[in-house]
Amino acid sequence: MQIEMTDRHYRAFSFARINAITFNTLTELTRLRVFYVLLVFALFLIGSSIFMAQFSFQQEFQILKDISLGAMSIFTSLLAIVATARLLPQDIEDRTVYTILAKPVPRFEYILGKIAGVLLLLAISTLVMGAAFLLILYAREQAAVHATVTHMSGAPREQVADAMRAIRSSAFNVDIFPGIIIIYLKACLLAALTLFVSTFASTNIFTIVVMAFIYFIGHLQATAREYWLHEHSSGVITRIFLAVVALLFPDLQAFNLVDDIVAGTAISMALFAKTAVLGTFYTTIYTLLAAFVFYGKEL
């Protein structure tokens, strides 16, 4: 045993170590009560939209999609911020970070493991909510089909087929999937940004307040930027200034595709790709910044 153990060679980067931290983080988060409260609340909202719509089926589907995607977006964003804000401070306060970093674990692997744990949790919740949403949508669609068939029992076949097509197209459109992916990416971005803020914050409350601030500014940012560009000449300094603002306050409105989906507007491949790349880019940048600050941090 002795020989086997001392024979191992240290590797500068190890997925096994990151995995260990990732799954430990996931365990930690799934044992938080707030996670279930939020999840149940979101599922309840998605489910309750059934009772809110007693108009035409087009309206019903619209409301269902609006409420469900809205609930998913808010829930994942909230979870991303609340769950991430306490990860590092908790470890530092409990000194578990000492025990972990006293093992041959590079600090950036620790950060990577933490963020990966959160992203995994967000992916699981998005999947659960997405599945609930699609199930309800499908159930309502079947109900509408059933009602229409009974209602139009005497009508010619062509007309019935038309009605069916109208129901199907207003219930389900393929754009729901890219929409959900973008919601997920927005949450990832917020999680990474929260992690970054928490590396220099002194309390959880500070992190959450800063993130709430960033969240609102982020939604208004695009409008403000247009206004600014309109008022000022677009010199180099202005551009640098705007770039810094865009880095600190990501344009969250760009991730808001829910309205388009509800309206039934097709999300172009280009728009989806652009938003997805933006989300991935921000998530990566914030994670790197978090790792950088944490690297030099006095524990």
């Binding site: 153990m5 000194r95 578990t96 000492y98 025990t99 006293a102």
Partner: protein, 296 residues
């Protein structure tokens, strides 16, 4: 030439105090050299810089000046931590993990897995006497149990050096005796031990060499026996001696050049008394704990 297990040269650590002019000097120009196989005790009152020194040696805190090495590798390099196990002061672990899961987590961080890891976990749980509590969450562990799981965690990757920050803080006498025996066992197996403590009696029992810190400065250092021996005195402990025999020895001493300084009845130590008195209860408690696990 072999590298020392720990080398500290000219170490200084200054903590700035935000919003104040002056700053705290936790460690000042410290030199240490710990050879492989030694048990070294870093002693000192509260706030003398013991924990800070240990954290710097482990690369958890960066020094203001000077350098530290573990087996010849700079503490700032992650790979220097390959051969070292650390038990922090008052350790906390993830409360939601069981004892077994905790060891598995730390084992994975050290690159262990599969059967090797499984065997190692069983071995260590046995060693620290937590096999019965392996399926319990750490949130339900007592302080002594936490300290023992901390010790097991420090040993998971079979390190050549273990660094223990007050390993017996908050542990009852029986528990600290067990920890002491574990440390002596490490020594027998050739593991270097660096520990900090302000419990001098315990340090005296286990350390080969000690260094005494006061306000961040190493004020004394040396082999324990040399530091505390009183060169010109000898103690005799005699059992079943009749008063006559004792008187005879005494008069014999008086006739020589030597001088009798003290004559007294041997006493048991409070520690031994405590352990004798509580062992029965302790055993009962252990079987109780077992009962709790079974109920769960």
């Amino acid at each position: 030439m072999t590298n020392p297990a720990v080398a500290v040269r000219g170490l200084t650590k200054i903590f700035p105090v935000p919003l104040h002019r002056q700053s705290i000097v936790a460690v000042r120009d410290l030199d240490l050299r710990i050879e492989p196989g030694e048990v070294y005790g870093l002693l000192g009152p509260n706030g003398s810089g013991k924990s800070t020194t240990l954290k710097i040696i482990l690369g958890l805190v960066s020094p203001t000046g000077g350098r530290t090495e573990i087996f010849g590798r700079d503490s700032r390099l992650v790979e220097s931590r390959e051969a070292v196990g650390f038990l922090p002061e008052n350790p906390y672990f993830y409360k939601y993990l069981t004892g077994e899961e905790t060891l598995r987590f730390f084992g994975r961080l050290c690159g262990l897995r599969g059967v090797l890891l499984k065997n190692r976990i069983n071995e260590l749980l046995d060693l620290v006497g937590l096999s019965k509590a392996r399926k319990r969450r750490l949130g339900t562990y007592s302080k002594g149990m936490l300290q023992r799981i901390g010790l097991a965690q420090a040993l998971i990757h079979d390190p050549r050096l273990v660094v223990l920050d007050e390993p017996t803080a908050g542990v009852d006498p029986a528990g600290s005796r067990e920890i002491r025996d574990l440390i002596l066992d490490f020594k027998r197996r050739g593991i270097t031990v660096l520990l900090s403590s302000h419990l001098l009696a315990q340090a005296q029992e286990i350390c080969d060499r000690v260094g005494i810190l006061a306000d961040g400065v190493l004020v004394r250092e040396g082999h324990l026996q040399e530091l505390i021996a009183i060169e010109n005195q000898t103690e005799l402990v005699i059992a079943d001696a009749s008063p006559q025999l004792v008187n005879e020895i005494e008069s014999f001493i008086n006739r020589s050049n030597a001088k009798l300084i003290e004559r007294r009845k041997s006493t048991t130590t409070l520690e031994r008394l405590f352990i004798e008195a509580t062992t029965k209860n302790h055993e009962a408690r252990m079987s109780n704990e077992e009962g709790i696990t079974k109920q769960k």
